[in-house]
């Protein structure tokens, strides 16, 4: 696991370099924590096209092991606050932007982005032609990169280190970000009126459809790096939620008496996660299963499908996805570097699962469903945060599935 750094020295516009494994070097100025030549940032360089929600993205555990660049040039305008965190820390390894803002303006902001990053020991570089960077990643594919700032940084050295860093393929980051112990979760989604500190009260029901917590159906969420908004929406839709570490064996999950099992998002190569896939395979058919993103890739593998690495992935808040059951299009939030192989799903014996959603941009698999096994999953992020809420109906779909099976 990435060591939680001491509050690092805050950068004050020192020259910094971003070096890609293909030899491209960008020069910019550092903000956030200053990471020097002796302690460079290393990660897979990826881009995200969302124009809003940088804080949610930076704190999404799925970005562990990755250096994030935003295509939108102004980052930090609205500062940071506790309510917009998707986990308790910044998971992205580093941040590359065109212009970082030091004087945020928003009524909910409590800290500027550079200070926030410094607190989390994460470095950013600004002044980069991020559009050129996106074009490089799009045409040559995602690649490993290094970042360092201050004196004595040799960009050529950084390129060598980036080349030596290997690839995201074959890397298990889940083990770094999953929780250590099971815990229960009863916080409700963020609202303007109540922020994110509102909890489910055990006596009262929160909505007409959802019963009080004691009588709620129980969902066990396998934490591969779960975003808190997912947990909040599971509660909101009517579940009682217990979170367990990735790799919890099937028997231990079933011992919790779940009415449904949820497979979370998370970082890294899904093909390295046999220890997560195997318990899911054993659970399938016993209780309804719902997976998001990495959870979707885990479900696909549990059903016998395969995953592969995309050239540069999908990361943004504007991808059109068609739901095959309704023919409707939803604008989705995406964050994945790997995808489920379509052919491998279509070849499954007995058509045990079907493809339920397609990405309309490149026709990749966006969702799978097995009616017989009462399991379904989507590649995109219905919890959004950041991004459009079009797909939140999937939480209801899961709730209905669980109630029908109960």
């Amino acid at each position: 696991m990435k060591s939680k750094r001491d509050p690092a020295r805050q950068a004050t516009g020192e020259v910094g370099y971003l070096a890609l494994s293909d030899g491209t070097v960008f020069k910019g100025r550092c903000f956030g924590a200053l990471r020097g030549a002796d302690d460079p940032v290393s990660g897979e360089l990826v881009f995200n096209t969302s124009m809003y929600g940088y804080q949610e993205i930076l704190t999404d555990p799925s970005y562990a092991g990755q250096i994030m660049t935003f295509s939108y040039p102004h980052i930090g305008n609205v500062g940071c606050n506790e309510e917009d965190e998707e986990s308790t820390r910044v998971h992205a390894e580093g941040l590359v932007v065109r212009a970082a803002h030091k004087s945020p303006s928003n009524f909910r902001a409590t800290i500027a982005l550079p200070e926030y990053l410094a607190q989390h020991g994460v470095m950013g570089i600004e002044g980069i032609d991020t559009r050129e960077l996106v074009t490089i990643l799009r045409t040559r594919g995602a690649q490993m990169a290094m970042m360092a700032g201050g004196v004595r940084v040799d960009p050529d050295d950084l390129v060598d280190q980036a080349r030596a860093a290997g690839s995201m393929e074959g890397k298990d980051y889940v083990k770094h970000v999953t929780c250590k112990e099971p815990y229960t979760w009863d916080y409700l989604p963020w609202s303007l009126e109540h922020g994110n500190r509102r909890r489910l009260s055990p006596e009262k029901s929160t909505s007409q459809s959802a019963p009080a917590s004691t009588s709620r159906p129980h969902v066990v969420a396998v934490d591969c790096g779960i975003k808190t908004t997912i947990l909040r929406l599971l509660v909101d839709v009517g579940f009682r939620v217990t979170v367990v570490p990735a790799g919890t064996i099937a028997a231990d999950i079933m011992a919790l008496g779940p009415d449904g099992v949820f497979l979370s998002n998370g970082p890294g190569d899904p093909a390295t996660l046999d220890y997560v896939v195997t318990p899911v395979r054993e659970i399938l058919g016993k209780v309804p299963v719902f997976g998001i993103c990495l959870g979707h890739q885990i479900l696909a593998q549990a059903l016998g499908g395969k995953t592969y690495k995309l050239k540069f992935g999908h990361r943004g808040g504007n991808h059109p996805v068609s739901d095959q059951s309704t023919g409707k299009v939803e604008i989705t939030v995406q964050n994945h570097g790997f995808a489920v192989d379509r052919a491998s799903m279509e070849k499954l014996p007995d058509k045990s699962a079907t493809i339920s959603h397609f990405n309309l941009n490149d026709l990749t698999v966006e969702g799978i469903a097995s009616e017989a096994l009462r399991a379904f999953s989507v590649q995109h992020h219905p919890e959004a945060s950041p991004g459009p809420h079009d797909s939140r109906y999937l939480f209801d779909r899961f709730y209905r599935l669980v109630m029908a099976a109960r």
Partner: protein, 1074 residues
């Protein structure tokens, strides 16, 4: 679901003339829609009264009706053409309103045609404030607390419950006409009266004030399968209280977190669903309390709007085109994104730059108008600019405005102001406020104080502060001390060479040379809808100072066309029309065409009008950079009006290959001395004139020239500060107060020919051969700016000898000036029959689109081909004189937007747009031009007459005619006595100073249906001015010249019979000529 098969023909309703609040964005949207529908195989019928539009080109729609956009005329068109469907969402508020009228009188049932793109229910719910409020309540969204009133008493009651300030919003008006902010009880009566008068249904919504809140707009598209996408979020830099059309706006939204943005997105989608816009684009406006995040829904437009044009240009997502396809049955996922070619249109654009829109105002034309911005739109145009950062986009937008400002050079706007005055200036929204906030920050007022005064979000102020701080540092540096890194950093923040030059005390050329020496040149990035996530096939570029340039020039033969910049009075859509035609013609001749322009409302800035589009300011700096990058074989400067012409000499000097008429010939025409030499050389006649550089020189000159004389500053647009003077005393006053005179900028004096007929002649020449495109006789006499006069083609009263003589002179001038392309000449013909030359403009003129529509010959295309080297003979173009019909052009004025401004016409141009009437008879054509300008001539009622002595003879005839038409006549004492003496029955009414009940009372109580008021000697007497002001306020048709009155009376005869409604398509008129 693919397209509908039950519809074969569609009637598209245009938006009519350019007025404040409804500009050429609707030509842009309508043109896109027509192209898209024709591509899908539909027969498209168009109605639009605006001849200066691309959409009314006879080869675009299948059937083009240049008719007034009123229910009567449209019903007639529907009766003849029997379209299966009517599409009313492309023509702004005008088209929606007329669709409601058509529905009300049962036209859709009567002729079995259906409305597509919107349904009546949805339009009503969106437009009717009370229905809208109830709809918002139903879906749990908040609206501002408000009361609907229909009387002053109601408004007083409302004030008690809502408190001050209150916002007035008259129902069913465009651009917020008649609206305002009432801040104190004294303002209640006058402002509410105006608001009530402006509303067609006499209804005004009075609202709690949200002044100072954030204002955000979302552009939404929905298809009939209920797929919804948000094309763009737009944040207003000017907070609530300023009409969004008058606000500086920014995309994407800069100061909301994702959670706050998603609340708006969710709300917008719910609103579109609840209102029931089945397909198409809508605009939703929100106010957000910056301290609490509370959201208030302001309004929703169930149609393509100014903001959707802006959103389309800002993102590359063609809202109008896609809305048209959705209207005929397609769904968003079935439509391809033209820019990426591989992804569907069902997505939300992601942009990786910032766009800034700044509105352009023309208050200098209306010296008495209040320049405070409020809920009623007052701007006449806008610019849009792209940058990779807000600072860059903002400074580029400022340079695009053509105000002579190239950055935060606003010291003059705060000169002599003390601390409180500066903060007051920041608090009062005006066209200068942006610069004033910059100066306040420069003077050391902290951001939070400027924010407290202006309510502009601190984020924007912080950015402006960074700019002025950088300026202060730069002031202390020598140009040579800037190293490459520093220079690049300045350019990345959007500092123009001109601004750097001013700050370092150098010339622009020196700054450019230094920059080039340091190897710093702009890169060009593309607008691709997807933030580079997909490879884009887009020709749509902007400059910035980033590393990678994406614009790869081709090896083809290419021509650059310089556009016309922001719309303003004197330079409007006509010039964009010419630029677009240049592009079309040269493309057809095999050239690659490259457009440079910064006006988001136009067809020229559509992504598929030219082979390549540079969305850039029309400054020497940006044009040079593009020309160096693209290396075209020619650059066209004569299509975009004064904008490109102003910089043409400098461009030519820098080696830019300008094609067409030489810069020197342009100079001969512009330079009075040189032109006068030319006139005498050709033995032609021009009115005596002189140039003066001081008051004494002016007085001296006036003695030589004689009175009356016309006086104006040199080199202005649209006749700014022109006056007609009758005495030496007036000359002295004008010189003292009217203008800034300097050696370089003298004033010009011309003998003014009273009661002369003015004539516009447009020609095209290749330097040898000359064709006369059109001879247009003005209806108003010389002395009224040619842009404001009505005119007709062919001439109606000129005899053929005079026309022949003007032709001869025009041809002579074109040859002598070696004109290659278009030339416009203005002649004046007094009673003597002598032909005087007033002015020669060797470039595209305002009348070119009108002449082209009236003759069916695309003259701007012919001229462009000639400029690129084709001979006039080889173009095959022939002179056409309309036969069997008459075309009338009339101007449309913005007086209703400016309370207290006199409606009298003069040498200063005031109109924002024009309409055309075409008919077998002159009266029929003139009548159409009036209806199309929203001057609804009465079929009966009372006419008020008050004319100057010189007009009394003509008045008699008019009065007799009116009497025959059974109008009741009333007049003040002088006129009444005169008419009675001649045996005309007329009622006498008091002048204002004679006490109530007087004429103004009669107007206010709607007892007058038509006003004929020709003021004495161009000196608007206070008494007659108050008549015109109230007539304007009450929307009573008013004529201020006898010529227009005579034409109107001719037209009135027709109004009495419904025959005047018979309509004929433009194509049918033109076919008769063949």
């Amino acid at each position: 679901m693919p397209k509908r098969n039950d519809i074969k023909s569609i009637l598209l309703i245009g938006s009519g003339p350019i007025v404040i609040g409804q500009a050429c964005e609707f030509d842009y949207s309508g043109t896109q829609a027509i192209k898209a529908l024709k591509q899908e195989g539909f027969k498209v019928i168009l109605v639009n009264s605006n001849p200066a539009t691309i959409m009314t080109d006879p080869d675009l729609a299948d059937r083009t009706y240049i008719e007034p956009i009123t229910a009567d005329f449209i019903e007639e068109i529907i009766r003849i053409e029997r379209p299966d469907a009517v599409l009313p969402t492309m023509g702004g508020q005008t088209a929606l309103n007329v669709a409601l009228d058509l529905a009300e009188i049962g036209v859709f049932e009567r002729y079995g045609c259906q409305l597509i793109g919107a349904n009546i229910e949805a339009i009503k719910t969106a437009e009717d404030r009370e229905l809208f409020r109830r709809a918002m309540d139903e879906i749990g969204l908040e609206s501002a607390r408000s009361v609907i009133v229909t009387s002053i008493e109601g408004a007083e009651e409302a004030a008690r419950s809502l408190g001050y300030p209150m916002i007035l919003r008259p129902s069913r008006t465009l651009g917020g006409t008649g609206g305002g902010i009432v801040t104190t009880p004294d303002e209640l009566l006058p402002k509410v009266a105006i608001a009530l008068a402006a509303s067609p249904n006499r209804e005004v919504l009075i609202e709690e004030s949200l002044l100072g809140w954030k204002e955000i707009e979302l552009e939404v598209m929905r298809d009939h399968k209920d797929n919804v996408v948000i094309v763009c979020g737009i944040e207003n830099l000017d907070p609530m209280g300023v009409h969004t059309g008058d606000s500086i706006t920014v995309a994407p939204i800069q100061t909301l977190t994702d959670k706050e943005y998603q609340r708006l997105r969710d709300a917008a989608i719910r609103i579109v669903r609840r209102i029931g816009v089945d397909t198409g684009g809508s605009n939703v406006q929100f106010a957000i309390n910056p301290e609490t995040g509370r959201i208030i829904v302001i309004e929703m437009n169930p149609r393509v709007s100014r903001s959707s044009a802006l959103a389309s240009k800002a993102t590359g997502f063609p809202i109008a085109k896609i809305a048209a396809k959705l209207a005929v049955g397609y769904t968003l996922d079935e439509i391809r994104n033209d820019i990426t070619m591989e992804t569907p249109a069902c997505f939300e654009p992601s942009i990786d730059y910032v766009v800034v829109k700044i509105p352009r105002f023309n208050f200098e034309k209306f010296p008495l108008a209040d320049t405070t911005l409020g809920t009623q739109m007052k701007s006449v145009g806008e610019v849009l600019s792209f940058g990779r950062t807000f600072k860059e986009a903002l400074q580029k937008a400022i340079a695009s405005m053509e105000l002579g400002s190239f950055g935060f050079d606003g010291a003059k706007y705060v000169q002599g102001m003390g601390t409180t005055e500066i903060l007051d200036a920041c608090a009062r929204p005006t066209p200068q406020r942006l610069w004033q906030t910059g100066e306040a920050l420069r003077l050391g007022f902290p951001v939070h104080e400027v924010h407290k005064a202006s309510r502009i979000d601190p984020w924007f102020l912080e950015q402006i502060k960074e700019i002025v701080d950088e300026e202060e540092r730069l002031k202390k540096l020598a140009l040579e001390s800037l190293d490459a890194d520093h220079f690049l950093d300045l350019k990345r923040q959007g500092f123009m060479d001109r601004r750097i030059a001013a700050l370092t005390g150098r010339s622009e050329g020196e700054v450019r040379a230094r920059r080039h020496h340091l190897g710093i040149r702009p890169s060009f990035k593309s607008v691709d809808t997807c933030a580079a996530e997909f490879a884009a096939h887009t020709p749509y570029m902007y400059s910035t100072y980033d590393a990678e340039s994406e614009s790869r020039p081709t090896e083809r033969r290419k021509i650059v066309i310089l556009g016309a910049g922001p719309n303003r009075i004197g330079q409007g859509i006509e010039f964009d029309y010419c630029c677009v035609h240049a592009s079309m013609a040269l493309q057809a001749d095999g050239f690659e065409t490259i457009m440079i322009n910064c006006n988001p409302e136009t067809v020229s800035t559509d992504y598929d009008t030219s082979d390549r589009l540079y969305f850039e300011p029309l400054t020497v700096e940006s044009v040079i950079a593009i020309v160096e990058h693209e290396r075209p074989e020619g650059v066209i400067v004569q299509m975009g009006g004064q904008t490109p012409l102003k910089i043409s000499a400098e461009l030519a000097e820098l080696g830019v290959p300008i094609i067409g008429t030489s810069v020197d010939s342009i100079d001969i025409a512009e330079d009075r001395e040189r032109f006068s030499q030319l006139v005498s050389k050709l033995k032609l006649t021009q009115p005596p004139f002189a140039t003066a550089r001081s008051t004494e020189e002016a007085v001296e000159a006036s003695r030589k020239i004689g009175f009356p004389l016309m006086i104006r500053p040199s080199f202005v647009l649209g006749g700014r500060a022109m006056r007609i003077l009758y005495s030496e005393e007036e000359v002295r006053t004008y010189m003292r107060e009217g203008v800034e005179v300097s050696h370089d900028r003298p004033v010009l004096l011309d003998r003014f020919l009273e009661d002369a007929i003015e004539v516009d002649v447009d020609t095209v020449s290749d330097g040898r051969d000359v064709l006369i495109a059109g001879v247009m006789e003005h209806i108003e006499p010389a002395g009224i700016h040619s842009g404001d006069s009505s005119c007709c083609l062919p001439p109606q009263t000129l005899n053929s000898d005079v026309v022949q003589e003007m032709r001869r002179q025009a041809i002579m001038l074109a040859r002598e000036l070696q004109v290659v392309g278009l030339m416009n000449i203005q002649f004046a013909v007094p009673k003597s029959g002598q032909v005087y030359i007033l002015e020669v403009n060797p470039r595209a003129s305002r009348t070119v689109p009108f002449v082209s529509k009236a003759t069916g010959v695309p003259w701007a295309k012919v001229a462009s081909r000639v400029m690129a080297g084709t001979t006039l003979a080889a173009t095959g173009a022939k002179e056409v004189v309309p036969d069997g019909y008459v075309a009338v052009k009339a101007s449309v004025f913005p007086f209703s937007k400016f309370a207290g401004v006199d409606t009298i016409l003069g040498p200063e141009m005031k109109s924002t747009g024009e309409v055309m009437g075409i008919h077998q008879s002159f009266g029929g054509a003139f009548l159409r031009s009036q209806f199309a300008s929203n001057i609804i001539l009465p079929a009966g009622g009372t006419v008020f007459l008050s004319v100057k002595d010189g007009d009394k003879d003509q008045l008699l005839e008019v009065a007799r005619q009116l009497q025959q038409l059974r109008f009741k006549l009333i007049a003040t004492e002088g006129t009444a006595n005169f008419l009675r003496a001649s045996g005309v029955d007329v009622e006498r009414i008091n002048k204002v100073r004679e006490g109530s009940p007087h004429i103004v009372d009669a107007l206010r109580s709607r007892q007058i249906d038509l006003v004929i008021n020709t003021p004495e000697g161009w000196r608007p007497a206070m008494d007659s001015k108050s008549i015109r002001l109230v007539a304007n306020e009450m929307r009573v048709p008013t004529y201020t010249t006898m010529a227009a009155t005579r034409a109107a009376v001719d037209a009135l005869e027709l109004v009495r019979s419904r025959q005047f409604l018979s309509v004929k398509a433009l194509q049918d008129y033109l076919n008769c000529l063949l």
